[in-house]
């Protein structure tokens, strides 16, 4: 029953977001600004799902997920920088920041990024490989819990400092900006932005479907078992480290794909996106939306960012207090996040309007189900 409702809701929202909204935009009812803004939120939602897959389903709280998101963004950014061609300030064939660092020719590692398929491959490969190596070392050493969180945070901070260096030839503090073309399409045109928005919507839908499928399989059951009691999983003969490694790499790739679509829509990618607070923000979105639900992170990412966009304009002096207050409220009163609240309300309504109270409360855990005397309501009908 609940599964069906969720699938129906997801299908309706997906059609609304991927088909109806762009149509409304094309006919001028929804502004280009809104489409562009929601495109950004959807790419944040992809990042949030990747956090949920790790944290909500495997119990691995990564505080460095934005590293993979930003790396994906950088790989796409390198392609976009190459596509500027000689339209930059200096009208030279190499990116502007290299010119004012005194370069006349393109550094070797920049050369293949003129090819879109190569850039796309790197979007997946580089973050994937980094996650594989880091995850392999971390999980083999049985680094868990808070130590894992601290390590991921250190990793992203280290990468942030590295990318700040101009020596890396990745644009230093300024990063990449002033993009012009994507696949020969002018990025300034509303039609291009609309296509990017739709692509992000589709990516989000596919990500959701993949994660939903994954968590339903036997793999997903092991995943949750690791979250709930890793030692028991180990004693049952499962190589928990391998499962965790797979989830870590998969979530890194998901985040990177989100980042790759984020860059052309926002128009800038720079190392401050790797700063530790950005990854913390992503965790907050998941907590606000409801972790371990897959729908929750999407709701959380869109809700928090919409609120932020609105409050930084309407209450530029108080928006931090507004957002902070909301986080406190969620932590204190909504431990299951917005989605948890909705499903609780749903359960409450179902109980209220059902004449025969045989449907178990949605809040109940399987353990409570198996108790001999479950509900007072059943005892006195």
């Amino acid at each position: 029953m609940k599964r069906k409702t969720e699938l129906l809701a997801v299908a309706i929202v997906a059609i609304l977001v991927i088909v109806i909204l762009p149509l409304l935009n094309a006919s001028g009812i929804v502004s280009n600004f809104t489409i562009n803004l929601y495109g950004k939120y959807l790419s944040y939602a992809v990042l949030a799902i990747s956090v949920d897959l790790l944290w909500g389903y495997t119990g691995l709280l990564s505080l460095g997920q934005c590293l993979f998101f930003t790396l994906g963004g950088y790989m796409m950014g390198m392609y976009l920088m190459r596509m500027i061609g000689n339209l930059g300030q200096y009208h030279m064939a190499i990116p502007d920041f290299l010119v004012f660092l005194g370069w006349n020719t393109l550094p070797t590692f920049w050369k293949p990024f003129a090819s879109f398929p190569f850039a796309l491959m790197m979007v997946v490969l580089l973050p994937g490989l980094l996650a594989l190596v880091f995850g392999f070392l971390a999980f083999r050493s049985r680094i868990r819990g808070v130590y894992f969180s601290i390590l991921t945070q250190a990793l992203t901070y280290g990468a942030c400092l590295l990318f700040f260096r101009n020596n890396l030839l990745m644009g230093g503090n300024n990063g990449f900006t002033d993009f012009k073309l994507l696949l020969q399409q002018d990025l300034r045109l509303p039609a291009t932005q609309r296509m990017l928005y739709i692509s992000t919507g589709i990516l989000l839908l596919l990500t959701y479907c993949f994660c939903r499928w994954l968590t339903k399989t036997k793999f997903g059951k092991v995943q949750r078992a690791i979250r709930d009691s890793e030692n028991r999983v180990l004693f049952s003969g499962y190589a928990a480290a391998n499962f965790k490694l797979f989830v870590f790499v998969a979530s890194a790739i998901i985040a990177a794909l989100g980042g790759a679509l984020y860059t052309p829509q926002v128009g800038i990618i720079n190392p401050s996106e790797m700063a530790t607070d950005k990854s913390l923000e992503a965790v907050v979105w998941v907590a606000v939306g409801g972790r371990g639900t897959l729908v929750g992170p999407i709701v959380g990412a869109i809700f928090v960012n919409t609120l932020k966009s609105w409050a930084t304009r309407a209450y530029p002096d108080y928006w931090l207090i507004i957002l902070g207050g909301m986080f406190l409220l969620v932590v204190l009163f909504l431990p299951k996040g917005i989605v948890g609240l909705i499903s609780d309300c749903g359960g409450w309504i179902a109980e209220k309007f059902k004449t025969t109270p045989v449907v178990p409360d949605l809040k109940q855990t399987p353990d409570a189900d198996s108790l001999p005397n479950p509900q007072p309501a059943i005892r006195n009908p």
Binding site: F33, G102, G267, T312, P316, I322, G324, G325
Partner: protein
Amino acid sequence: MFFKTQKLNQVASLGRAISTTTLMKKFIRSFSAVTLAAFTLNAAPVLHAEDTVKVGILHSLSGTMAISETSLRDILLYTFDEINKSGGVMGKKIEPVIVDGASNWPLFAEKAKQLLEEDKVACVFGCWTSVSRKSVLPVFEKDNGLLFYPVQYEGEELSKNIFYTAEAVNQQATPAVDYLLAQGKKKFYLIGTDYVYPQTTNLILFKYLQLHGVPVENIGGGLRKDDSGKVISAGKYTPFGHTDYQQIVSDIKEFAASGDACVINTINGDSNVPFFKEIAAAGLTPASCPVVSFSLAEDELRALPTKDLVGELGCWTYFMSLKSPENKSFLAKWNDWLKTENYPGVVKEKRAVDSPMVLSYDGVYLWKKAVEKAGSFDVDKVRTALESGEINFAGPGGKTTMQANHHTVKNVYIGSTLANGQFKILKTFPEVKGEPFLLKGLDEQLEKKTAAN
């Protein structure tokens, strides 16, 4: 846990600035509004009053840059009030639209889009860091907006939609070097934070110094060359927030042993504290080896231990200590405004005024004059007026004239730091023409020079 300490500081200073009761009221009001807003986002109707013109303020009011940028928000609000009191711009009162860029560069781009596409502002005053300007530049070009940028920067950029009231490198760094050369300095040590402004400025200075007869071995801090042996980076660089300057300062001490050396400092922010502490500890004095800093103005000096900095040099197009009648009346009016204004979040006590603030102030008046000359708020017409070379304003720092190259002509001042965080003015370079593209011209001049030898 989810906020950086700076944000907490910001909240704390906000709390000091306004009484608790107003804060609570506003807070409760905000909260009830939040629930409503969640449903009506981006759909709020835009009211177009006949007698007002919307102008955007795009600065960071939270995050790492808030400490610098809130001052610019304050001075802009003051300027708008002053203009509104004297009749507005072409009879229309300025209605500020304040947004918070939150030291978050993608958010800057988003807010710029919002100001131009949703609020449809006539003009935007904003940005501090180069990266924030780079992030909004494509937005302003796409939507044909107008941005006034007030903070000293590295140049090498010229957008038809941005007017730079900021100091270009030849209005700060090269005059400072001229001054030091005239003082008989022969050796120059370049040090900065590793980002685009110090890198570019030092590369320009590296060439400029050679052109003025300083041999390469007298330029300290190290060089980096590309495969062909061409110098692509000059000077010593430390990352943001660096604190350990012991080794670097001992290098400087060795470099300055001959007694005719000086240091060109483009270190940003808090790192200046340990840097100047080490300089003082090493026994380097302004007399033996002066340090000229390009990122430290009166507003920053409020937060630094000035005792380590007394006698060190600064170079800006405005100093608060200028004795001109324009500056005196400006400061008097600004202080009066601070006493009476009731904008939320404006700190009233111990305020300093510095170059970025005055350049913001100048920018508003240049825009006003251009609008009046064009007889329209239309961006293309205002741009044409600004590019005519006839728009000028006698501001607190002296006369400022906008040139066709979107940079200004203005006076440049060299000052030495006093214990109270002010500057004693040592020299004035009158009417220096701002020029954004210096690297190429310097390269050509250097080639000519080597060919002549």
